[in-house]
């Protein structure tokens, strides 16, 4: 079964190629169907991976063949409890994005075929990043998502602001590329001292062979690449614009998948491969993450645009994830990984909902959307309320567990880390959680509540079938996310039990 991961990574790319040579006349019409077929296949394959991983701690289903023998670079894929939830999430979110394109619901911009093709290419990149076990291969996949994402934002983004969406896409791309090029230098520094790119061997080696000073430099260089991607305050500046200008599916993929690549990298590469460097950098990471939590929440309070608000809320949520990573403890890292998945589900859902609102009203301005969503379209309003509650960390929904565990981890960080610093960070995190509740309640008050007499803004755009409430297609896209949010909320073990053994292996039982 070791070919399973190769096939999983290859399927979307092959789908993209297929679309590129599809006859032009039919391609425009059939592209979404092809996209759904391909991503559904990838999703099934990702589910097929599940049984081999559950209950195990180490790497499963490994493929390991030389790719560039002369440089010792290998095609090495594998999956464990840390990557599995992310792989399934990736396959699911891409599938849902494709479903949302059906029935002519594609965003205005270039051709639908192009959009489907770049999203498929992007899926290959994300899946490859989560599965790669060779640092250079990891880097190649990490970079593979950039150009497709650039096109998604720049070509299919906000139709009202063409230069703005170009600029947002370019800022995203350039910041990420600088970060990841420095990260590459860090990888090569690791190789210079250890003589291998094998992430499994390096993780087992726990930084042996690298003097502390080298580890520090490598941890800084590698951390920079992931910090831009995650994003860590103050490197988040690309994020609000990119999310706000992206089409709905672009925002979903950015928030749901691309940010995860950064946090995943922290857990997979940064923690185990340069542990000594990570230990030295961790307090700074924790402080910046905590600042990000509060900053993101405060920025949300000041937003007048719902899409930007959800984007800024990501800064806060990813702050929790990074704070959890910085504790260097299984509890914190587990919390980080659960929060990671929860954020993917919830924020993915929120961006779908904002997109639905934007389609109807041609604006995502909090006031311009008008009040009384519950009255006008109860189903849409209900799902929005649920997503907001989940995002603010209501117990019983997915958002709660990750942040709770993260703060718990910060209460008792790994030995050798300054406890007072982490206690302050915990306090800031708690404050951020409260502020998160405040701004989401504000959103609900402004948008969802209000009587039926509230003025209904004029509908703009006539390319959608007239329907105020959620269509069956939209409900079909949202319901898996809603269901998973509730399921993970009620039974966090679904994710935790998968993640925990792998995290313990990764941290070497240092708890």
């Amino acid at each position: 079964m070791s070919w399973l991961l190769d096939v999983l990574v290859a399927v979307p790319a092959v789908g993209a190629l297929l679309l590129a040579v599809w006859p032009r006349e039919r391609a425009e019409r059939q592209a979404p169907v092809v996209g759904v077929t391909v991503t559904a296949l990838a999703f099934l394959l990702s589910l097929a991976v599940v049984p081999s991983v559950v209950g195990t701690a180490g790497m499963q289903l490994q493929t390991n063949v030389p790719w560039i023998p002369i440089l010792d670079i290998r095609w090495h894929l594998g999956v464990d409890g840390i990557s599995l939830p992310l792989v399934v999430l990736t396959a699911l979110l891409t599938l849902l994005c494709m479903v949302s394109l059906l029935r002519g619901n594609a965003p205005a911009g270039g051709s639908v075929r192009g959009l489907v093709a770049v999203v498929l290419l992007l899926e290959t990149g994300v899946l490859g990043t989560f599965l790669a076990l060779d640092l250079v291969l990891f880097f190649v996949f990490f970079e593979l998502v950039l150009v497709p994402m650039w096109f998604v934002v720049a070509d299919w983004g906000d139709p009202h602001d063409v230069p703005g969406r170009r600029r947002a896409a370019t800022v995203f791309l350039l910041m990420t590329v600088i970060g990841s090029a420095v990260m590459l230098a860090g990888f090569l520094l690791v190789y210079a001292h250890t003589g291998t790119f094998d992430m499994v061997a390096l993780a087992q080696g726990r930084g042996s062979g690298m003097p502390a000073a080298t580890q520090l430099v490598a941890a800084l260089a590698i951390g920079l690449g992931f910090a831009v991607k995650s994003p860590l305050w103050p490197l988040h500046i690309w994020l609000p614009d990119a999310h706000a200008k992206a089409p709905t599916l672009g925002s979903v993929l950015l928030a749901g998948l691309l940010l995860k690549m950064g946090t995943y990298g922290f857990v997979r590469v940064w923690l185990p491969i340069v542990p000594e460097g990570a230990r030295q950098v961790a307090p700074y990471l924790a402080v910046l993450a905590a600042v990000g939590i509060v900053y993101g929440s405060l920025a949300c309070l000041a937003q007048t645009d719902l899409k930007r608000l959800v984007a800024y809320s990501s800064v806060g949520h990813m702050g929790f994830v990074l704070l959890g990573v910085a504790t260097l403890r299984p509890v914190g890292v587990n919390g980080a990984l659960v929060a990671n998945i929860a954020h993917g589900l919830i924020t993915g859902l929120l961006f779908f909902l904002v997109g639905a609102l934007k389609d109807r009203h041609d604006t995502s301005d909090l006031v311009g959307l008008g009040r009384g969503l519950y009255g006008r379209s109860p189903r849409l309003g209900g799902v929005l309320a649920l997503a907001a509650m989940a995002s603010l960390g209501l117990p019983g929904l997915a958002g709660f567990w990750g942040e709770m565990l993260t703060l718990l981890g910060a209460f008792d960080p790994a030995n050798g880390l300054s406890r007072p610093v982490f206690l302050v960070c915990m306090g800031l995190g708690g404050l951020g959680a409260v502020l998160t509740a405040v701004y989401f309640v504000r959103v609900l008050r402004l948008v969802a509540q209000g009587g039926p007499d509230a003025p209904v803004p004029a509908r703009a755009g006539s390319w959608r079938p007239v329907s105020f409430d959620a269509t069956a297609q939209e409900l079909g896209v949202w319901s898996p996310l809603v269901a998973l949010t509730v399921m993970v909320g009620l039974s966090p073990g679904l994710v935790l039990d998968v993640v925990d053994p792998a995290v313990r292996v990764l941290l070497g039982g240092s708890a």
Binding site: V147, T170, V177, I178, V182, A192
Partner: protein
């Protein structure tokens, strides 16, 4: 011993075949009728193929020709050596010249360029480049360098009745002559200080220590000037854009690949084989030059609206990346040579791909602005997709994995050599480069302009585009092949 040495004809066959082919092209054209417009192209391709044969036969061998008599205590001194590095250089020159010949087919070329003369000059210059990469003494190197340059001036100015072309040739000539003069001065200093012209003996003398160290080190630095000019390294880069734009497109492609390759291999040879003793002096200098070259090229490329001008600045920036391994040459050794050569080979293939599409478009839209490429992917899918892929490779982002690989290899040796600051400069430059390559890609894959028609791409250009793009795609799947070929 006899004054007449046996000559290893196989070893000198590749440059010799090219030189002979050059003459045959010229003579044959004089006798052929006016209708035989394909003749220069066909003969040139045949000559290149014929030259590739002995080159392939020599792969893996080390052979030296034109050696000094053995002296006791002195290292063997030969003027011409075929070894792995030579073969790598030959590969770039032969591939580059072949693609340029394809780009120079009658149907593809500006009609004001006399074809037979063009091919004659092209092959002459290429034979110089072939000799240069095998040269192992300063005089051979210098003569070979001039054999590369002199036909190139004429190539740049061969467009009859075009003032820009003439101006380009004159500018190119003047700057080049000055650079060569510096190199000559340097060579004479080095000779004065060490008493030898052969790399191996210069190296031995410098390692042992010479009396006039300042003269020798000044000579070493001055010697690099002429080669840096060929590579278009800062501060010897200013000629590039005007000359590229003024010349016919195939000549610009030639200058950006073959001529640059000759300069780079020359630099590698001189630094590695002759001046290694002074590495403490030239390594920091080259690091600064490399950083300045890539930054200047990238920043100036940002605002360009003209396709060839953009590629010209991009080629300056790319030269900066090729020079980076030289800044750690003495610390890292052979791996730095390998990194530089792999970057050169990969750059050559993808850059020729970009130039091939530009050549196709230059017949259709002589103004050659970036905006003229609007929607090329829809008008002419293979050319458009090929250009987009080539540009991605130049930028070094997947799916252009081969370009990424080239950058990884260079990063690698730079990090190994401990030049962290240079790695950071490279990182920033990758991002800056991306900005303008992407700008062009967007136009290529973007919407079609209403008034535009599909460009007619002649078969020779189709072959050139197809070959280079196929090679870049194939190498993206198996980038390691590049290293295997070169080592």
């Amino acid at each position: 011993m006899s004054a007449v040495q046996p000559v290893d004809w196989l070893a000198i066959a590749p440059p010799l075949v090219l030189a002979l082919t050059a003459i045959i092209v010229l003579v044959a054209d004089a006798f052929a009728g006016r209708t035989a417009v394909q003749l220069p192209s066909v003969l040139s391709l045949a000559g290149l193929l014929l030259a590739a044969w002995p080159a392939a036969a020599l792969t893996g061998d080390t052979r030296s020709v034109f050696c000094l008599p053995q002296q006791r205590g002195a290292p063997p001194a030969c003027s011409y050596t075929v070894e792995t590095l030579t073969i790598g250089g030959w590969l770039v020159v032969l591939v580059g010249t072949t693609v340029v010949v394809l780009l120079s087919a009658r149907a593809a070329m500006d009609s004001r360029v006399p074809l037979a003369e063009h091919h004659f000059l092209l092959l002459s210059s290429a034979s110089g480049a072939m000799t240069l990469v095998a040269a192992r003494d300063l005089v051979t190197l210098l003569v070979a360098l001039e054999v590369v340059s002199l036909p190139a001036f004429a190539l740049a100015g061969l467009k009859r009745g075009d003032r820009r072309s003439a101006e380009a040739a004159l500018k190119f000539f003047l700057v080049s002559v000055v650079a060569t003069a510096f190199t000559l001065l340097g060579v004479s200093f080095v000779y004065g200080a060490t008493g030898s012209m052969h790399f191996s003996r210069i190296d031995a003398a410098l390692q042992a220590g010479v009396d006039a160290t300042p003269v020798a080190s000044a000579g070493a630095v001055l010697t690099l000037v002429g080669l840096a000019f060929k590579v278009a390294a800062v501060p010897f880069h200013a000629w590039v854009p005007d000359v590229y734009v003024g010349s016919p497109v195939p000549v610009a492609a030639y200058l950006s690949v073959v001529s640059k390759a000759a300069g780079l291999v020359g630099l590698l040879l001189v630094l590695d084989r002759a001046f290694a003793a002074f590495s403490a002096a030239w390594q920091p200098l080259l690091a600064v030059v490399a950083a300045a070259t890539m930054t200047t090229g990238n920043v100036l490329a940002l605002r360009q609206q003209h396709a060839v001008r953009l590629l010209a600045w991009s080629s300056v920036a790319q030269a900066g990346f090729m020079l980076c391994p030289l800044a750690v040459l003495a610390d890292v050794g052979d791996r730095a040579v390998l990194a530089s050569m792999s970057y050169l080979l990969i750059y050559s293939v993808v850059n020729l791909g970009a130039f091939a599409v530009v050549a196709a478009m230059s017949r259709h839209r002589p103004a050659g602005r970036i905006e003229d490429y609007a929607g090329l992917v829809r008008r002419e899918p293979w050319a458009g997709a090929g250009l987009a892929f080539a540009l991605l490779c130049l930028a070094g982002l997947p799916p252009g994995v081969v370009g990424l690989f080239a950058k990884v290899v260079v990063f690698w040796v730079v990090v190994d050599g401990g030049l962290g600051w240079l790695a950071v400069v490279m990182a920033v430059n990758v991002a800056v480069g991306l900005a303008y390559y992407l700008r062009w890609i967007v136009v290529v894959v973007g919407p079609v302009r209403a008034d535009d028609s599909a460009p007619a791409v002649p078969p020779a250009l189709r072959a050139a585009i197809g070959a280079t793009v196929t090679a870049s795609v194939a190498l993206s799947f198996a980038p390691g092949v590049v290293l295997q070929v070169l080592s």
